[in-house]
Amino acid sequence: MISFDNVSKQYKNSNRPALTDINLDVEQGEFVFLVGSSGSGKSSLLRLLLKEETPTTGLVTIDGINIGKLANRKVPKLRRTMGIVFQDFRLLPSKSVFDNVAFGMEVIGKNRKEIRQRVPEVIELVGLEGKEDRLPSELSGGEQQRVALARAFINQPKILLADEPTGNLDPSTSVGIMKLLDRINRTGTTILMATHDVAIVDQMRKRIVQLDHGTIVRDQARGMYGHAGH
């Protein structure tokens, strides 16, 4: 469903391309780790999918739609098919857990009835039932990331992008988040997760795409982080 064909990305104020000749296909329902050191191009790859950037050359398609050529006014519709979570959670500090999750539905115009029905379901899915009225500052890091995941998943996206979602969490909390991502993956949601977390990658045994200086140096099904074949 996601495909990169000979994609390169050169930022204006940089002398080195961020991505060079990327070819990558991801099927519906796959779970893919994007690994590689900082500056290897993981974030650029995610930004291309969100159309926060457009490829310099090559073709990025989702479900056969050319993302690079997508008109600006159609971008919101594209993003409604995707959820995204970040290392720093990005919750709204003045809103309760319920309102943070509901925000994802409010701003795309869902009605009150749908919101009242859907939000509690997703809060339960991420294991935060009973904490709907708490503020983000009253939650642990792991709980905050669960709220962020609930918000990303609230509109049932086909694709979930996760940029270092466990980067700020301790190992045992990270395991809980990974279990949740796995559960979401099993509902048929395609997941692309950029990470540095060796332990997690080794434990999950999912497909690994390793980037180095903007090129794919490894693409391995059921891989381990450190045991690259190069």
Binding site: L50, N72, R73, V75, P76, K77, L78, R79, R80, T81, M82, G83, I84, R90, L92, S94, F103, G104, E106, V107, I108, G109, N111, R112, R151, A152, N155
Partner: protein, 302 residues
């Protein structure tokens, strides 16, 4: 986006940005009050023109015993001269609509009535005031026709065009009106900058909200709408204050004070005031939408 959610966002935004909101409301109120005053002044001038030009006359003062003008060398106007002048004036129809003779005694009576209670009255006697013809023209601009016919005629001391006096007065009013409008435009410009700055600060303060909105696929319009509505809300409040100020000026200054003491002026009516009020809101809301829209295009790019 649901209206209740939108209303909550707008209210929260205005509260969080409280001092800026107050500054914005006051700025809009001041600039629109000036704008409204300038418009009101124009209606006032129009009213006065209509009222006074209707009453404007050419006064032909006749020689008295002590007149110094060359045409009065033979002393006070004689009956024959007076008759000659009257005939000349009546011959100027239809430019001259009516001719009314005011004797010195009548002039004195009118003077006493106008300056009732003033110490001036005691010092003026009937002989000090000249007799005159009051000439009503079909169009006050045709003064020259009368002036040419009577210039240099024996018995005529002077000819006075009241319109000239009024025009000087209207020129002053017109100057004041232009001045008020210029200040209003300058203030509106200040308001535009204030709106831009307020919206920019608000957009910066809520960059997290807007980035989340973008990432979950909110449309550009719905991301910008809360900011625009905040600016519009502040503007409507400001326009409301300005409207209230104008109504208060009409009620408590014009109606309660000026009108009873200056009865010879036609004052602006409620109709004039009510016609102006919607424009305050149109200009206020328009300014807010344009200024915030332009700012958001720059600072909230998708």
């Amino acid at each position: 986006m649901r209206t209740s959610f939108l209303a909550r966002e707008v209210r929260g935004g205005l509260r969080r940005n409280f001092t800026m909101t107050v500054a914005l409301i006051v700025s809009v109120a001041v600039s629109l009050t000036l704008f409204g005053s300038a418009l009101l002044m124009r209606s006032q001038v129009d009213r006065m023109k209509g009222y006074w030009y209707d009453k404007v006359q050419v006064s032909v003062f006749l020689c008295g015993a002590n007149s110094l003008a060359v045409t009065c060398s033979s002393g006070a106007v004689t009956d024959a001269q007076r008759q000659d002048i009257r005939t000349t004036l009546q011959g100027l129809q239809p430019t001259v609509q009516s001719v009314y003779y005011e004797s010195a005694d009548e002039a004195y009576a009118r003077f006493k009535e106008q300056f009732k209670g003033s110490p001036l009255v005691a010092n003026v006697t009937a002989t000090a005031l000249p007799e005159s013809f009051r000439v009503k023209l079909d169009d006050p601009k045709n003064y020259d026709v009368v002036a040419n016919a009577l210039n240099g005629k024996a018995g005529v001391e002077s000819i006075q065009d009241q319109r000239k006096l009024l025009e000087r007065f209207f020129r002053i009013l017109h100057g004041l009106q232009t001045f008020a409008m210029a200040i209003a435009v300058a203030m509106l410009l200040v308001t535009v900058f204030l709106v831009m700055n307020t919206v920019r600060v608000a957009a910066f303060a809520r960059r997290r909200e807007t980035s989340i909105m973008r990432s979950v696929g909110a449309s550009n319009a719905s991301i910008r709408l809360p900011f625009i509505l905040e600016a519009v809300t502040a503007s409507v409040l400001g326009a409301g204050l300005a409207a209230g100020t104008l109504v208060a000026v009409k009620q408590f200054v014009i109606d309660a004070r000026l009108q009873p003491s200056l009865t010879f002026i036609a004052w602006v009516t409620w109709q004039d005031v009510i016609t102006i009020l919607p424009w305050l809101f149109v200009v206020g809301i328009g300014t807010a939408i344009v200024a915030s829209g332009l700012t958001l295009r720059r600072y909230l790019r998708g």
